[in-house]
Symmetry: C2
Subunit: 330 residues, 2 copies
């Protein structure tokens, strides 16, 4: 926690002592030292990733602070999961405007504490600074994976099947609801969709168990089509995806029933944080078994071919044009 | 580099491909994957630290971007040095306003590249987002230290001597010069002092070689007195420091000669990024030898006693009151 400045708004030392030191694991040295220590177990390799979120770009400034914290943590855990890694620790740097006082920080830290317990991880260190602009929150997550068992994006091969966990497009619809879209949607669906946007479920258990099964994997943040394109680009292969095969939640089906064109938007909307992976056809039974064990749908949505790019097809195999492969934040 | 959003100012993918991918080491997987991998050598432990800097708080918005990059990297390397660790890798997250275009980023990356070569480290990953506020730059540095050889803040013992590397207060004076102070200072001193503020020299070699010698160590970021207080607090000891013994550069002496009261400000000014450590009296010869080998002054400035707090004394041993133990950014 070097760089902490006495005399900043409500005291950085006090802020760390009250809110963040209780989150520190043994390697964090109470957040009282220049750096933290991380032990590596024999035969393991560490996996590291970092993501930043900005108020007004990646979340709404008046979103509940505990949900902001949990989303920040979870998008990073999702990256670790996409490598097949087990999460261990994280570092956090916050640049906060003066308007966010102790109450906001207390709620933010409460969200971290809740998810630390849930995922069995701890805080190692970080930094806390002031900004005159919107809050910028950066998190570095550290996990471990057995040497050689990490699942990269570049391993997809022609003949692989393409699979996705959970359901697709819920977070996209949740964000749309927050912006006032679909006022006609049944109330029982609304909270679930908004929850998928605000607090994603990183597929940590699934990711670890896919080591040795998946050839290539990514977590869906930019949108299913765009993220599959990342796999295809780095693996130098093509993919064909059947739009009707995409797994949708009952809530999403509730929207699609009234407006069939939305289905395409769900394939390109982002923030799903589901795992998208390729595996040889011979792994189908193992994947179905994993789905049963974890109680999590894992759906076959297409296949890998030689060539390049992602082609989306309808039930009759006709190509569906994609105008917007990526995803833009609000 | 998850979370990268196509369609952001001048293309995040393009920005990463052009400017940051060339900085990636083998574990960074070309910045094309969800996360990076870090191997641990047998008998080694990883050391991690993170710091953030904000335009207008920790550096001036029109500071040269390569110097901003090098300072950001170096303050983190200084934290690793203060643990006795050898630097290996880093992750970087940038939140940039739209006004900072490709030219700024190119210069920023050039500064990183220069210091990567100098310190033998590489980039593992990170994130790149947009903000409507001032730039916020966060860096996580990863190093290694032999298991059990890390130097913490809490190991100081009564009877230890207190040592500091290099010279103290140059960065404080460099910042003062940038703000227009000391217009009478001789021109030959000005660039050196400003350079100490803009691009600190993390004492990486010294830090590693102090493993097995130093009982407690910290790098000076908040100011010599404040940082020594951190050692005393966590070690539950007191320190007595002789103000006249503080090592000053010729440039700093040039200021102090005209204005003796400045000497106290140099002891409390921050951003020195020198190593401040305690060691038993029996290590004096080893420390002097290190100083010779590295061509770096290492000066004995006081001693550790039982009790609490830091007491500053003059040449006659009289206590000098300290009004301002910490350090405030501009």
């Amino acid at each position: 926690m070097a760089g902490v400045v006495p005399g900043e708004p409500f005291g950085e030392f006090e802020r760390i002592r009250r809110f963040f030191a209780p989150l520190a694991g043994p390697g964090g040295l109470g957040l009282l030292d220049d750096a933290a220590v991380v032990d590596c177990r024999a035969g393991q390799r560490l996996v590291v990733t970092a993501d930043s979120i900005v108020a007004g770009v990646h979340y709404l400034p008046d979103d509940p602070p505990d949900l902001v914290a949990r989303k920040l943590l979870r998008v990073n855990l999702s990256d670790l999961a996409a490598m097949g890694a087990r999460p261990l620790h994280y570092l956090l740097t916050t640049a906060l405007p003066a308007a966010l006082g102790p109450d906001w920080v207390a709620e933010f830290a409460r969200g971290l504490a809740e998810d630390q317990r849930r995922f069995g991880i701890d805080l190692l260190g970080g930094d806390s600074v002031a900004t005159s602009g919107p809050a910028v929150l950066s998190l570095t997550a550290i996990g471990e994976v057995a040497v050689g068992m990490e699942i990269k994006r570049n391993g997809a091969r022609a003949g692989d099947l393409v699979w996705v966990s959970g359901t697709i497009g819920d977070a996209f619809l949740g964000l749309a609801l927050l912006r006032g879209a679909y006022p006609q949607l049944a109330p029982e669906y609304r909270a679930g969709l908004i929850g998928r946007f605000q607090v994603p479920d990183p597929r940590v258990d699934l990711g670890r168990r896919l080591a040795g099964i998946a050839h290539a994997m990514i977590d869906i943040s930019d949108g299913l089509i765009a993220d599959l394109a990342h796999i295809c680009d780095t693996s130098r292969v093509a993919a064909v995806i059947a739009l009707p095969s995409l797994p949708l939640s009952r809530a999403a089906l509730g929207v699609v029933d009234g407006e069939p064109g939305v289905r395409l938007a769900l394939a390109t909307g982002g923030d799903d944080y589901e795992l998208l992976f390729t595996a040889p056809a011979g792994s189908t039974q193992a994947i179905d078994d994993l789905s049963s064990v974890l109680g999590l749908p894992i759906t076959r949505i297409g296949k890998i071919e030689s060539g390049e790019g992602v082609r989306l097809v309808d039930a009759a195999g006709r190509t569906i044009p994609i105008d917007e492969p990526g995803y833009r934040h609000f």
